[in-house]
Amino acid sequence: MKRNSFWVASFTASVIIAIVLLVAGSPTVTANDQPSAANAEVKIDNFVFGPQTITVPVGATVTWTNKDDIPHTSVSTDGVFKSKVLDTDEKFSYTFTKAGTYSYYCTIHPKMTGKVVVQ
């Protein structure tokens, strides 16, 4: 019947419109709970900080993990942070609350240097 078809068509159209509006208005859902790049990892191996320079946002926490078979440290050249001695598999974390460039090095093997850029 004409009246019936019209009703079905309009109902379908409303549903479609409703779905479109729903999808357009909802927030993006990502895999992580936190915003990306808030925390960063530095792997210490073969007498190298990897990556040697990392860039993180203000408030980010950087975690150093020693994967080398020899102890290392992560010590800021400006006295901002200082890890204890990290033996194999030990970690050190520091949260950067101020923007800036933070140079650091291993006090045991001072040729090992790295940089954290906080912006």
Binding site: F47, T73, P110, K111
Partner: protein, 340 residues
Amino acid sequence: MTDKNKDLIDQKLQDLNNDGVDRRGFLKCMAWAGTGLVWTMSGGIPTSRAFAKTNGKDAAKSGDFSFVQISDSHIGFNKPANPDVTATMQTAINKINAMPHKPDFIIHTGDLSQLSKPSEFDTLDQVLKGASAKQIYFVPGEHDMLTDNGEQYLQRYGKGTKGSGWYNFDQKGVHFVGLVNVANLKAGGMGSLGHEQLEWLEDDLKGRSASTPIVLFAHIPLWTIYQDWGWGTDDSEQALSYVKRFGSVTVLNGHIHQIMQKVEGKVSFHTAMSTAFPQPAPGTAPSAGPMKVPADQLQQVLGITDVNYLVSGRSLAVVDSPLADAGSSASGSGSGSGGR
């Protein structure tokens, strides 16, 4: 004895002791004599004397003496390169105790411990208690400064030392200086002696007769072996300038866990093997860390260094021997000059 057609440097060296053997030639003899033979010039006639024997006639002159350098015991290290560094340290002590001539003392050129832990220092002390030589001199390595800027090292081994642990002593006319180049290391740098220590060294050497044999010992090499790996001391040139005028200077270092030797003028440089684990030759591996070798080869790449002072030549003969030769200094391959 000297192979004069080899090196230009050989030709430039003087015959310092007026005995027909220049210093480099003397050391070459000693390197060959890793098997345990020493040549001395006695009244112009070369005589040989086996290290292994000392009979009455060949007994050392009263001014002669010997000591042993050991290094890099890293007590507390337990990774695959050597799961039992205490055992290999014990082997080194047994080897020293088996030497036919008892050394006057032992010098440990640093990295006594792996992590500066009290238990590690305690274990080392226990092993050293069994050494035939009761007098042991130390300088710290960077591994001994880890938890407290070396405070614990100083309490245990730094009595009578200055600053971060430097000092001197004399033995039968030879002047020994223990230097510390592992404190206050700067980012991107190598070893460092620092202003205060350099001033002290300059003052210490001033006024000493140039014929006084000098022995400098420190953990990190006092010459640049491989900058990328930090194998050198940023301000060592200044220290070496203070010893330039002396007739016989011997520099003993550790840190690199392999033998490297160099003669420059009247200064002989030597780095010792570790008693714990070997490290790769410069640039032959991604990093300077512990190098794993097959278990049956470990004792060949660990070792001690016997240093003999012969008063007649006022020279020090430096002879390395691997732990694999435990119990006999008259056999085995010994080690040559020039490193690996």
